[in-house]
């Protein structure tokens, strides 16, 4: 702008000075942003006065501290995409009002032939349209940021639900705002002026339709996310509620749903079935595989067992069984002594002795023990007796020999 007026150049100078204040006191201001007040410790009286004059900070009451002004807070929130503090401005009516009055001024300047003034009006008009678009862009950007982070800037699910609700209301307000832009009215307003027509009709129409599309998509996503949040909430409440109920009612037993004529699907879980398989040798083509498997089996290695390792098993033998075993052994020894003591040298039947003494052992066990006793004797003593088994064939065509009885006789002394 080579033709800048004195007013304009003073404005530029002041603006540059004041913007610089933001940079110079950035740290103090950011502390004021994150905390309640701007710390005054590092600020000189002059600096504070300048900040107050630039309406970067203000003092809500005489006694209180110094705080950031809302606009600066918004600026920082916008610059840092701080979704917890970002503000969505959906006030379209005000912006439209401003456009109308600027168009009126522009037309007047044009009618007067004041081209310089006309240029200025056009510049402001462009800026106003940009501002209005910018608000939608910022708002939509802010909404996407929140969506994409699953409202990560708040930690509690209930806060997320509330934030989502707030965002949905913002979308509705923004959509309502877009509704206010009446293109029939704008077409009439711009008349035949090509520049205005381009700015306020064709360009704006394209931008507005873009905003619509974006907002509808955001709205859809917000609703989906809300449904997910609600479902998560419902699950938590169900678990907490049921847990509390069961704890308070330890004896609670629901109906036996399995006995109903129509068993609820959730209560119908079939018993597990194991699909077992075993080695089968009836298919010749499998034999190589099976023999390969067998050859891969590790050789069972049985380490030599020391006697003590087997001891517990002996100890655990039932005492009653051991006692009966001992009684049987003693009775059999009695039989051997009886044979030794007998006068006649004829063989003495073991079963007869069993019957005579009414010892009550089953025949088979008795005979088995008599034979075992004989075999257990040292060879020298074994020679003193002669064991005569009384055998017979199991059947005519079966050569297995069955022992009917054994007789014991003292061997004739050599």
């Amino acid at each position: 702008m080579s033709q800048a007026t004195p007013l304009e150049s003073r404005l530029v100078t002041t603006g540059v000075e004041r913007l610089a204040l933001l940079g110079r006191h950035a740290e103090a201001l950011m502390q004021g942003y994150t905390q309640e007040e701007v710390p005054l410790a590092g600020l000189s009286a002059t600096a504070l006065r300048r900040l107050l004059a630039a309406r970067i900070v203000w003092r809500p009451d005489e006694q209180g501290g110094v705080k950031l002004t809302p606009k600066v807070r918004e600026l920082i929130a916008e610059m840092t995409a701080d979704e917890a503090r970002r503000h969505v401005n959906a006030d379209v009516a005000e912006a439209l009002e401003r456009l109308r009055s600027l168009v009126a001024s522009y037309r007047e300047s044009s009618a007067r032939g004041d081209y310089w003034q006309q240029e200025q009006q056009l510049l402001r008009l462009r800026q106003s349209v940009d501002d209005m678009n910018g608000r939608f862009f910022d708002a939509i950007d802010s909404l996407w940021q929140r969506l994409n982070s699953d409202f990560g800037f708040v930690s509690k699910l209930s806060d997320k639900v509330r934030e989502n609700g707030r965002a949905q209301k913002q979308v509705v307000r923004l959509l309502d705002g877009l509704e206010l832009i009446d293109f029939d009215e704008l077409i009439q307003l711009v008349g035949r002026d090509g520049t205005l027509r381009k700015l306020l009709v064709s360009q704006l129409q394209q931008q507005v339709s873009q905003h619509y599309t974006s907002l509808r998509e955001v709205q859809q996503r917000l609703i989906e996310l809300m449904a997910r949040f609600r479902k998560m909430q419902a699950r938590s409440r169900l678990v907490a509620g049921m847990e509390a109920f069961l704890r308070e009612h330890p004896g609670f037993t629901p109906g036996n749903y399995a006995q109903r004529s129509d068993v609820p699907i959730l209560c119908n879980r079939a018993a597990p079935l194991v699909a077992a398989g075993s080695v089968a040798l009836d298919r010749s083509q499998d034999l190589p595989t099976l023999s390969a498997l067998v050859s891969q089996l590790p050789t069972p290695s049985r380490p030599a067992q020391v006697a003590s390792a087997a001891a517990p098993a002996q100890q655990s033998e039932d005492a009653a069984v051991a006692a009966r075993q001992q009684a049987l052994k003693e009775d059999v020894e009695g039989f051997y002594l009886a044979v030794v003591d007998r006068d006649e040298p004829a063989p003495h039947s073991a079963l007869d002795y069993l019957a005579e003494r009414a010892l009550g052992w089953p025949d088979e066990i008795w005979l088995f023990q008599v034979i075992a006793e004989y075999q257990g004797l040292p060879r020298s003593e074994q020679q003193a007796f002669r064991l005569l088994p009384e055998e017979e064939k199991a059947a005519d065509y079966n050569d297995v020999r069955l022992i009917r009885d054994v007789a014991l006789q003292l061997a004739v002394a050599p």
């Binding site: 209930s158 678990v239 399995a258 006995q259 209560c267 119908n268 018993a271």
Partner: protein, 218 residues
């Protein structure tokens, strides 16, 4: 194989492992077996499996959301009903410890919601959170020594280990890598909550999921 085999048989050959898992009583979800779960989205395959399972008196079943599949009896005879009654009794006995555990994990790890299929759980994380928190420790101890979890130990790490082991055995958790202490929640958690919801509805229990009621109370 030979040429006379029908397409259906060929198809079933592919699904042998899935059938075996289902028959063994496992729950199949997107976490426990993603590819099988994807295949089960096909209604034609579900019908084919049902046909295959018919002689075994079983059919494919799922929860309402179809997030988890399992086998149900096709015909309910007396012995099946008896088995289901026993199973229901077991499920009811494990309900309180399982719900307590779900809540404990949610609170201890500061999560937004109840464990959801696919969520990652690390025993070490739970242990770290409980070490400096006596009330949490006490809750874990009480839970671990419950007969459902059956821990005999008085050591926190052993108790947590036992709880995870039992949850894995019961199919609520999956350990993708045997040597790593990282677990995933399975679709059986969904089944559990569906069962809880069902019991609540059937018995008309005063347990609400509605947010509005809760919020007005607050």
């Amino acid at each position: 194989m030979n040429d006379t085999e029908s397409p259906l048989d060929q198809n079933m050959l592919l699904h042998g492992p899935l059938l075996e898992r289902l028959l063994a009583g496992e729950f199949v979800c997107a976490v426990s077996d993603e590819s099988a779960f994807q295949r089960l989205q096909d209604e034609a395959l579900r019908d084919a499996l049902d046909t295959y399972l018919r002689p075994l008196n079983r059919r494919l079943a799922s929860n309402a959301e179809q997030s988890v599949y399992f086998l149900a009896w096709r015909q309910l005879d007396d012995s099946a009903r008896e088995q289901l009654s026993r199973q229901l009794g077991d499920a009811l006995n494990s309900l309180l410890p399982l719900l307590e555990w779900l809540q404990l994990v949610q609170e201890a790890l500061g999560r937004d919601s109840v464990l959801t299929p696919g969520d990652v759980l690390k025993p070490g994380e739970l242990q770290a959170k409980s070490e400096d928190n006596p009330s949490l420790r006490e809750r874990i101890e009480r839970l671990a020594t419950d007969s459902f979890f059956g821990s005999q130990s008085d050591q926190l790490d052993a108790q947590i280990k036992q709880v995870f082991k039992r949850l894995k055995e019961h199919g609520y958790l999956l350990q993708p890598h045997g040597e790593r202490q990282v677990y995933l929640a399975t679709g059986k958690v969904d089944y559990l909550l569906d069962l809880v919801r069902f019991i609540r509805d059937e018995e008309r229990l005063p347990v609400t999921e509605e947010s509005d009621a809760q919020e007005t109370l607050l």
